[in-house]
Each structure stands twice: as C-alpha cells, then as structure tokens.
Amino acid sequence: MRWYRSSIGKKVLMAASGLVLLGFVAMHLLGNLLIYQGPDALNAYAKKLRDLGLLLWAARGGLLVALVVHVWTSIALSLENRRARPQRYAVQRTRETTIAARSMLVSGVMVTAYLVYHLLHFTFRVTNPDISHAMDRFGHPDVYAMVVLSFQQPAISIAYIIGMAAVCLHLSHGIGSACQSLGLNDERTIPAVAFIGRLIAVVLFIGYTAIPLSVLAGLVTIRGTLP
Amino acid sequence: MTPLMKTLDSMVPSGPLPQKWERHRLTLKPVAPADRRTYRVIVVGTGLAGASAAATLAESGFSVECFCYQDSARRAHSIAAQGGINAAKNYPKDGDSVERLFADTIKGGDFRSREANVYRLAEVSNAIIDQCVAQGVPFAREYDGYLANRSFGGAKVSRTFYCRGQTGQQLLLGAYQSLMRQVHAGQAAVHARAEMLDLIVVDGRAQGIIVRDLVSGAVTPHAADAVILATGGYSTLFYLSTNAKGCNVTATYRAYKRGAYFANPCLTQIHPTCIPPHGGGQSKLTLMSESLRNDGRVWVPTQPRDMRPPRDIPQAERDYFLERKYPSYGNLAPRDISSRSAKEVCDAGHGVGPGGLGVYLDLSDAIARLGKPVIRERYGNLFQMYEQITGENAYDSPMRIYPAPHYTMGGLWVDYNLMSTIPGLFVIGEANFSDHGANRLGASALMQGLADGYFIVPFTVADYLAGVSPGHGRADARHSALAGVRRSCVADAPEFAEAAGGVEARVKRLLGVRGKKSADAFHRELGRLMWDACGMSRSAEGLTRALARIPALREEFWDDVNVPGEERDFNQALEHAGRVADFLEFAELVCRDALHREESCGGHFRVEHQTPDGEAKRDDERFCYVAAWEHQGEGKPPLLHKEPLVFEHIPLAQRSYK
C-alpha cells in the first residue's frame, strides 16, 4: 500500500496541506494590514502581486492543489470515520475534545463557502460590480476603495466576520492537530502546541476582523485612515 | 481386588544435582526438523506457561493449537501478577546464586517439593530474564541503564526483577507477542473463547481434547499428538480469591477423571496482603502487591476491639506482631506465616475495620523517612487502587489488609519431564504441583511458569513426540485452523465421539435441572464452606464435617440449580455452572487430602499439629511425600499414591524465620 493511502498518510497530507493554507492566510493578512497605510500602499501592493505574472499563477496553483488535497482527505477521512462506527451511542459524553475539534467538518464547510464568496467578491468581482471596478489615480485597480466601500455595507462586513470566525474555529483545532499528525509533538510540547495553535487562530481573527470593524467605525474611510 | 497404592517414579535422572538437567537434556531425543510440522500439539491456557510453551514449540516447527476461555490470549490471569520475577543473576552482588535461590525455594516450600525440579527452576531462572529482555519486556532499570532488582517476601537478597506494578502483564505480553508472531507465521493457531471440557485418551495416551466454543456453544473434538495443560490454579474454589472470575479447575479435574493423578490438592496459598472484604455482593478480593511489605509495618491495636482511628493509637498500644514474632524477617516473613499471624490476631479480637477482618499495613514511617514523592513513585498505583476500592486515602491513614486465597501449589502430578501419569499429557505452570511444595515464595510463580514453558517442556514434549508417529492422534482436519496440516483421517476412534457425547449430555443436564438457585449461589456456599474448613487453618473435625456436607451440597446443586439460557449460544451462566459442578466434586478431594495429611506444612496448617508457640509442625517421618490421588470411578474414594521426597542437598530442618 502506498503510504499516502493509509490512515496516517491521509492525515499527514491533510496536516501538510492545512499548514500550506495557513501560511497563505497569514501572508494574506500581512498584505491586508497595508490598508492602514492608506490607498496607495495597498493598491501598490496589489499591483506588485499582479505583476508577478506566472509566479502568481504558480502560487495560486499551489494553493489550489493544497485546497483540493485538504478537501479530498477530509471527505475521505470523514466517510471512513462514519463507517467505522455504524451504530452510534445513545449517550455519548466527552472529556478532552473541544467544540472546535468536534466541528471541524462544519467549520470547514463554512470556510469553503466563505472562500467561494470571497473570491467572487474581491477576486472575480462579480457580486458587487458597482464598487469593485474603480481605478485609482495611477490607473491601477482601486483595491482600497473596493474594500472600504464593501465594508461600509454592514451585511458584507458581518458576512466577513462570520467567515473569519469559522476560519478561527477551524484553525484553533487545526494547527495543534496538524502538528500532532505530523508527529511533531512530545509530552512537553503538546499543551504548548495546542496553546500556540489557538493563539495564532485568535491573532488571525483579530487581525482580519479589525479591518471591517475599522471601516464600520469610521476609522478607515475612502480618503484614508484617520490620524 | 482392592487397587494397590503405587510408589510413583518421578523419573529424576541420576547424577549430581547441578548437572542433572544439562545431562538429561542431552539424552532427550529431538524430532527431525522436517517432520516437526506433521506433529500437532494442543496447549490449553495462554498464561505465562501456556503462551511461552506454545510460542517455543511453534518456533521449533511443531504445529500448535492453543485454547483459552478469554477473548484473547493476552488476558490470562498471569497478567495480574504485580510484584516481580526472581532470578539468580546476582546483579546487586549480594551473594545470590543458583544454589541460594534453590535453597530458599526448597525451604520456602517447607520441604514438600522435589529437589531436582527446584534446582532446575533456579538454574533456568537467568535465561528467562535474558529471553524477556530480548523480547522487549520493559523491566525497571537503574540510572546506569542496567536492570534493577528489589527484595521480596521471604528472601534476604534482592533478586526480583519487575516492571512497575505490572510484571505479570509485561511478561505475559512478551510471551503473547511471541505467540502472535507464530500465528502470523502459520505455525500456531489460537482458539479464543473456547473452553476445554474433557480430555481424550486413546490407547492409554492423551490424544486430544473436547472443546466448547463459548460463542456458538458448539462442542467439538480436537485431536493432537500431545496435550499440554497450562490452565492455572483453582483458588476460586474458595469463591472469594485474588484470582480472576473465570479461573477454574475444570481442565485439570477432567484430566484427573481421565486418569491423571492429582497431587497435593490441599496445598493452597493464602496471600497476606489483600484488601479486606467489604461484605454483601462481593465477587472477588484484590491483592495489594507484597512489595508494600518492604516499606510497610504490619500492626494491630493491643486492645481488642479498639475502635479508635489508627492515628490516635499511641505506639505503646500497637502490636507489630510480625516484627515481634519473627525478628529476623519481620514484615518480610513468608506468606503462609504472615497470613496465619494476621488470622491469629484477628481471631483474638484485635482485627480492625468492618467485621474485625483486617490488620494495618502502615507506611507512615517510610513516608516520614523517604517523603511522599518517593513512596508515590514506588507504590503510587497501589495507593490509587486502594483508594478506588475502599474510598480511603492510604497516605493519611494506614491501609487495612487481610489474607485471601491466591495460589494453589497443588496440581496435577508430573514427573521430571512435566508429564502427567497419562502419557502425552503434560502439565505446566500453576496447573502442576511441582516446584513450590507447601508454600510458594513471592515472585516465583512467574519464574516457574516461564521456566516450564520456555525452557523445559519444549524439550520434553519433543522427546515424547520422537517416540510416537505423527497423526497417531487421528485428527480431524475440519477443526484445524492451520492450513496445510494434513491429518491421516477424521477422528474415528470411539473415544472422541464418546467424550464429545459426554460433554454434550452434561451441558444438557445442567440446563435441564431448572431449579431455583443460581450456580453462583452454590459457588458462594461452597466457597464459604471451604474457607472455614480448609482455609488458613484446618482441623480433622472441620474437614470431616465438610466432607459430609459437600456431597449433600452437590446433590442439592444437581436438584436445584437454575441455569438460564440455551445450549447453542453464548451463555456465561452455563459456563460458570459447569465450573461450579466440577468444584463441587473437586472440593471433596481437597478436603480428603487435607484430612489425610496429619501434619502442618507451609500453607497447610492443621491445628492438631503445632508447636507450643503456635508454629506449623511438620512430620517428616510420616509425610515427607507427595500425595497423588488417582480417580477410581464415580462414587468411589480416590486412591492415594505416594512419591517419597528425598532431600540430599538441603537437609530437612524445621523452618525458622525468627
């Protein structure tokens, strides 16, 4: 049997692809935070990314592969796990597990749905064409305006905050779990790894949700950030 | 014509004691490697003795079929041994040697064991440790990485190897894993949830067994060229004991009824350090490792019926009775002596806890001297177990302990080759009588089980097989789980059908009584009876009374037992009822043996035979022999045969632990 078809192999693939996606989420946040430096910084960053050309597409391809692997293994493992216990307990209590761990499938589906919406919204710009095709004073797509105008609509902001909550929930189990699956734990590190995993998840949540909240609070406006 | 008592030949080879086994081994005939696969050996029981024998025989090429009543070979009751295993390695350089281990075991057994067997046991003890270490048994180690030892009840040297409180389990897993390796290799098969209910003897040789599949209820014969019984002891005869609920005498008792002699059935061991009984509904007693006696002091209040909490009883009002009576060994006195002393003080009204059945085992001095963390590291799991069972914290107040039936030195009689009086029937481990005499020392049961299984019986069985042609046992390919083992023909000897029919008829009879009392109720009653008449102290009067009561109880059983459920089904009540039925017969043999042995030795204490200060008084003039009982048929008294015991190396002496 090829190792990646085994139960542990699939878990390893899931963990590795998850960590790749985590890396993307973290980098993405660093880019987003440029919004606090005003429209020019963010739009220039967006242009720089687009100018990468083939490299960008390679990165996108890599992320897509990671995503497919992550989703495929999660479906395969979930099906196997369901089959492993054909008859459920009438009463089942738990002692160690967390809500995050129990809801990985639900949070995973939510994250996927959010991802689709997010791509349609900002990348393919189909959900709100009215605000997503502006150009800035250098003739570049005005990402800054697109973000600010979007988040000024509470419905969109709320959708993003919910999406990020799902990501946070998913990661708060996922990061520690990935380390365990990759065999990186020992007796001393296990609580630390779980804690750091949750910390990263929370930091990402705060970082991401700060943006729509800042827009809604009027701290970030179409003209730039308030001093 | 009345049958004649025979003097049994133990087949002990001649020559000087230290060379007997080595020389004997050279005379044992091997079987040609290519022929080994054609021989089938049945091993009943997968404890230390059974699993190690099965694995070793399979490794050497024989086809092995194992049977156990548990759901896996790994669960045999050897697993519960906590303390350790002895070996004469002399790693701590405290003067230990094969000779000393041999002498301690002979003396510990109160001169009722066979010198040559015990010497061999001491001799192979070191190889057991080597073997187990190579298998990956995680023995305790010192900081330098070498094996650690501790001292154990009844020994003045540190020769006990241990794996925390789980030595039995770890050694068994070593043997079980070796057996699983042979199953993987196709050399052995394990039939779990299968109980042997009869032995098949054809042409005077053991040639198979009758087995009831405990899941389907099907009764099937299994043929073989040799049968090894490794079915453990019968302490559950007393109902409450430290043994597992499933332990029973059925396999050895059935073999007895087929002609194997039963030796010294009355020699049973009552272990001193068990958690006292709590009363109603109690199903078993739990052992606390004897290792606690290394750091604990045993005492009772000097005032009878002193109800004060132990902490409030001043030192002057405590009787450290083991230290007082046996200043040399103190709290480490052998098990029989410690148990009897505890019973004496309790009988005199000094007992503590519910019903006055208990003495204190106090570790507070050790806690004060070494600190709680050290004690926790040494005995943490025991303290935890004690708290779980009693709800009391033993760090704050001393544990209460009371003796409980634990081990049976008696068993089927075997010669030096571990073969019973039925050719082809070998008996190993606790199931035989051989090595512990009248009292077993701590940490020597594991040693004996593995010595028999790894290093003795594989040679002697091979020697036996070399003298018979394979497939002689008319096997039945249908029931062989081993592919490729060709048997000459299906079990067509009438003995197979007769034995299977007998087992089925008995099962039907048990189910057919439809009385009012459960088998468990009868077992409880029998247990109480045996504990009173044939427990820690025995008298002619009590034994005679028991001998009158047992047949009546047996009759009541067959009139009034209620065994629910069906024959062809998973039926635990039926399993248990069959075992109780055998106990109801066997109990009589135990009492008869106890009555006939008019002396006190080791665990057998006859109140009529004691020294003025209450110690056991042996009678070497009249009883320096192994009593082996032969079944004479239903309703007839068994016939006593004697194997005289000769002590050439350790002069017969009254034991003294004072």
């Binding site: 139960s7 054909p86 699956s181 | 669960r75 519960a80 180690r141 109690q282």
Partner: protein, 253 residues
C-alpha cells in the same frame, strides 16, 4: 441504593438490539460496578429471565476484559481505571445508568454488552513483537537501556488492550492502541531491527480492520484505564512517516 439501569440487549451479531430497563435495589456503595451487574443477573436468574452478558475476568483493572460504556463514557466517569474498578459510591440513590457495549465496526457485538476484539490480536500478529526465538537471547545486561527510555517504554507498554480508546474515540480509531505498542518497542534497543517494518505492517493491519482515523480529539487518553498519553500517537505518526518515506535495509529481505 436503588438504581434504574438502561441496558443494551442484543441476542447475537445478527440481531438489531434494543435498550431495556431494569430496576436494582440494595446496592451497597462499596460494591464494584460489575458486582452491581452480578446482582442484576442474580435477580434476572430468579425471575427466569436471561442474564445480561458482559465481559469481565480479573476484576482488578488489568486483564482488559471488561468493556462497558457507562453513561456515555468508556469505563465510566473515573479516569485511569477500568469499569471493574469503578465503585458504586460514585452513583446516587435513584440514578438512571445507561450501559452500552463498545461500538465500532471493527468490534462486532457478540451478545448484549460483549464484543469481539480479535482485531487487536490481528494487529499484534502483523508485527507487534520482537522476532527473537527462545534461547537466542544474549545476557540480559549486555545492552544497557537508559532509564528514561525504559520508563517511556513502560508508559506505553502499560496498555491492557481493552479497546476503550476505540470505544471513546468519536471516529472509533485504534491509534492509541497501535501507538502504544509501536512506541514501546521503538523506544528499546531490542526493537530497533524491525522498527520500520513493524510500524508499517501494524498500521496496514489497523486500516484493514476498519477502524476510523485519529482526528486528535484525545478522548482515547481520557478513557484509557492506564492513562496512556496521546504523545505516543504523535510518535506513531512520526515513526510511520519515517518508515514509509525512507528505504532501509529492512526492505531488502
């Protein structure tokens, strides 16, 4: 104490099974949980009903035979003990107790609360041993084993094979069981020769038996009567990865 028991009854593997309710009275707090079931069985026997089948043997928490899910927890609410060591003082008069068997595809029910755990034996057969024939062993102290390694090996070896890890796992995974044996032998010098082959074949056997996958809920550790730690699962993952991705001399033969 008086208690109401809601018990799983199932005639055989083919039967569908259902819960049945029973009342038991006169239960003393000093009784063990299994003694309470004994007393129910005595009662059923007196009423000429069939007793409840449940596995048990040593009743001191070491044989691994008992296998009850009590109020939704494998081996009941006390940590670090098997069901046989659970005592009735943990319950209150009038309590209702739900008792179910281990539930996993790889542990088919035989009857009532009794399941077939032979899958564990087959996993061990696949490689859970050191291949050393009797009599081939070198002197025991030839190879010293550092105390910490021996201690860790013992921590892992403490597994009693009861299957509570599978029963408690939301995915019915046997990872803790396999991890314990793999770690025990991988930690010792004696286990090195077959280290890679062992982990590969044991994991393969585990997958064949139809156990689920570990998704790191750590419920196994909470249910384990020997409190075996989930770091051994991380170690198993590591061992498996190393063994699968690197070729070694073991693969030649």
């Amino acid at each position: 104490m008086k208690l109401t028991l809601r018990l799983w009854r199932q005639r055989s593997a083919r039967d569908t099974g259902r819960f049945e309710q029973y009342q038991v009275a006169d239960i003393s707090p000093d009784m063990s949980f299994l003694e309470m079931l004994d007393s129910l069985n005595e009662q059923l026997c007196a009423e000429r009903k069939e007793p409840v089948a449940f596995d048990h043997d040593c009743r001191e928490g070491i044989c691994g035979m008992c296998s009850l899910v009590i109020n939704g927890l494998a081996h009941g609410s006390d940590r670090g003990v098997a069901a046989c060591q659970l005592h009735m003082r943990r319950f209150k008069d009038g309590d209702m107790i739900t008792i179910e068997p281990w539930r996993a595809k790889a542990f088919p029910i035989i009857k009532d609360l009794v399941v077939d755990r032979s899958a564990f034996d087959r996993i061990i057969q696949a490689g859970g041993y050191v291949s050393v024939d009797t009599g081939d062993a070198p002197e025991a102290n030839t190879v010293p084993v550092p105390k910490p390694a021996a201690e860790t090996a013992m921590d892992a070896a403490a597994c009693i094979g009861c299957g509570a890890c599978v029963a408690a796992c939301p995915n019915a995974s046997a990872m803790l069981f396999v991890a314990a044996k793999v770690s025990h032998l991988a930690k010792l010098p004696q286990g090195q020769e077959e280290r890679r082959r062992r982990v590969r074949s044991m994991v393969e056997a585990m997958d064949r038996e139809g156990f689920g996958n570990c998704t790191n809920h750590f419920e196994c550790m909470a249910a384990c009567p020997k409190s075996i730690h989930v770091t051994f699962i991380a170690r198993l993952n590591r061992e498996y990865l190393k063994a699968s991705t690197r070729r070694s001399s073991e693969d030649i033969h």
